[in-house]
């Protein structure tokens, strides 16, 4: 497929994402497959660039909205799940993340968006759901062999409370697991306070879901080194 056609496909896909037009975006994906793009090309040259445009401006310099993030992530997850079994070779898993919302927090949107972004970048993700006890984050991370624990919080008290990320950090310390597991946090409170992630004992935070795969990749490298 020529470079010109690829660009046209990507542009059409980005336009659909910008308009939060799910049917339109999925139609572009199907047409690309029908037109001869391989599943790998669709994932790596259409879906992932679409997600990456979410970092810092999308097509125009307008504010990228949560609904655009939501849609890009949702499509990324759906299309990646469908196309990975069709890849010529099994893709290398980039790392394993267990993710959930902090104890007492019932807001699952941010987590859902992050999961889509991670899956599209070939991370294995174990979704622990909402209102997750700190002990469960650690136990599940050990059980599945994850390198990273992701904790999402929409409210200040669930981000900073004693049953939130602080307790997960404490458990890692008590069990001598700090070299084996990293903590990444995200959610509204962290966007209003740039140092809050450190105060709750996390190793990193993600301002937007689209930038999380890059940060998680770094954390995985740290654990594996």
């Amino acid at each position: 497929m020529s470079e010109g056609i690829d660009k046209q496909i990507l542009d059409s896909y980005l336009t659909a994402l910008f308009d939060t037009d799910k049917a339109g975006a999925l139609r572009v994906v199907q047409e690309a497959l029908d037109g001869g793009l391989t599943p790998e090309q669709v994932v790596f040259e259409v879906i992932i660039p679409g997600m990456e445009r979410m970092i810092g401006g999308m097509i125009s310099d307008n504010l990228v909205t949560l609904s655009q993030h939501f849609l890009a992530s949702q499509i990324a997850e759906e299309v990646t799940d469908r196309l990975i079994p069709l890849f010529a070779t099994v893709p290398e898993v980039q790392g394993h993340v267990v993710i959930g919302t902090s104890h007492g927090d019932f807001h699952g949107l941010g987590k859902k968006i992050v999961i889509g972004c991670l899956k599209a970048r070939m991370f294995q993700v174990t979704d622990l759901g909402i209102n997750v006890a700190p002990e469960k984050f650690v136990d599940q991370a050990l059980e599945v062999g994850a390198e990273v624990i992701g904790i999402s919080s929409m409210m200040v008290h669930t981000a900073t409370g004693e049953r939130g990320p602080k307790r997960v950090r404490q458990l890692l310390r008590e069990q001598g697991l700090e070299d084996r597991l990293r903590i990444i946090v995200g959610g509204a409170p962290y966007r209003f306070h740039e140092n809050l992630f450190r105060e709750v004992g996390a190793d990193a935070w993600g301002d937007t879901a689209a930038e999380v795969p890059g940060i998680v990749a770094r954390l995985v490298r740290e654990v594996r080194s």
Binding site: F18, D19, T20, D21, K22, A23, N62, L63, T65, L66, S67, Q68, F70, L71, Q74, G104, D105, F106, H107, G108, L109, K112, N131, M155, V156, H157, T158, T160, G161, A188, P189, F192, H193, L196, E199
Partner: protein, 349 residues
């Protein structure tokens, strides 16, 4: 010295109060004042009214907030489980809408006071109105029809429905939520609310792009306010940026006061709104958890400077987290009083 009510009255009639009015949204902190758990505190309207009165007296700001917690609206619409915390607002623990058929089953009571939780809320507002004796405006708070579904079905499913779902089902849900919003405004006003804070986070530029706002959210803002009119309504950001939508709301819904997000630029908001609207500029109150009094002073001064230049200005907070130490709340209000005074030569609007 003017009362809070006189300060708001002066602003609303185009005049200049002695200083910028201060809105300090302390909610769950009232439980601490009364030595009650949050569950006990919110069980009675009398407790919440007492908590609000004590906190206003203690810190010296200009309003009384007649609100319990956002999830109370979901309770009135059928939510059967509210999750209480020791150190933060109660949460929705049961989603009312799990399938399309649940939307058809939603019911808005003709008289919201039939619901015992809503009755506690209006009892609280009535008490605040009585005790305020006209000195401080009582704020009633309602969630916009466009944002309420997020509490009834979850934000993700609601976004999926309004962006790419069945338009007929979406509109049916919005019709019901708008009826609830409209009846709530009437009931809160009847109970004694002087001003209505209209909260619409899903309509903000943080959630949806301007094109979608115009197509999906704006018509419902207009609808929500149709029965009672926009007078005395304050559009509250709910945690999202609203500068990009201000001009549209002003033009089409006629709301006269806008409560900005800390990341919305005050000068830009004034340029977008023209001279005939009030602006509440907000401090990033999550930072109040660990800022020093000096840092608070500098931040308040900066906001006040921009606000007084813009004119028609109110100083406000978002929903103050429980973790903010008392001395920082005192430092905040003291700084707002100090930097909020209008020099005689300054014309408010």
């Amino acid at each position: 010295m003017m009362t809070g009510m006189e300060r708001f009255g002066a602003l609303m009639s185009g005049g200049t109060p002695d200083r910028v009015p201060i809105v300090c949204n302390l909610l769950d902190q009232g439980a601490r004042e009364l030595g009650l758990s949050i569950l006990e505190y919110y069980s009675r309207g009398e407790h919440v009214a007492e908590g609000q009165l004590r906190m206003r007296e203690k810190y010296g700001y200009d309003t009384l907030t007649g609100m319990f917690y956002s999830a109370l609206e979901a309770e009135v619409m059928g939510c059967r489980n509210i999750i209480y915390a020791d150190d933060g607002p109660p949460n929705v623990g049961h989603l009312v809408i799990n399938a399309p058929r649940d939307i058809k089953r939603l019911h808005v009571p003709d008289d919201l006071n039939e619901h015992p939780r809503f009755r506690e809320l209006t009892t609280c507002i009535g008490l605040l109105k009585k005790e305020a004796q006209g000195r401080f405006p009582v704020l009633g708070v309602v969630t916009a029809s466009f944002s309420l579904p997020a509490m009834l079905m979850g934000v993700g499913p609601w976004m999926e429905l309004f962006l790419n779902g069945d338009p007929a089902l979406r509109d049916e849900l919005l019709e019901t939520c708008s009826l609830f919003c409209s009846r709530q405004i009437a009931a809160l006003r009847e109970a004694g609310a002087d001003l209505i804070v209209y909260v619409d986070p899903l309509a903000s530029a943080t959630f949806i792009q301007l094109k979608k706002f115009r197509e999906l959210a704006l018509p419902w803002i207009i609808r929500d306010l149709e029965a009672h009119g926009p007078a005395g309504v304050i559009f509250f950001n709910g945690g999202g940026r609203i500068n990009p939508i201000l001009a549209d709301i002003r033009e089409h819904a006629g709301i006269g006061a806008y409560y900005l997000n800390p990341y919305d630029d005050i000068t830009e908001a004034r340029a977008l709104l023209g001279s005939n609207s009030l602006i509440a500029g907000t401090i990033n109150d999550i930072r109040l958890i660990d800022w020093s009094p000096d840092e608070i002073e500098r931040e308040v001064e900066k906001i006040m400077l921009a606000g007084k230049r813009a004119g028609g200005f109110i100083f406000g907070t978002l929903l103050m987290p429980c973790g903010i130490p008392e001395e920082n709340i005192r430092a905040l209000v003291a700084a707002a009083i100090r930097h909020g005074h209008h020099a005689e030569s300054v014309v408010c609007r």
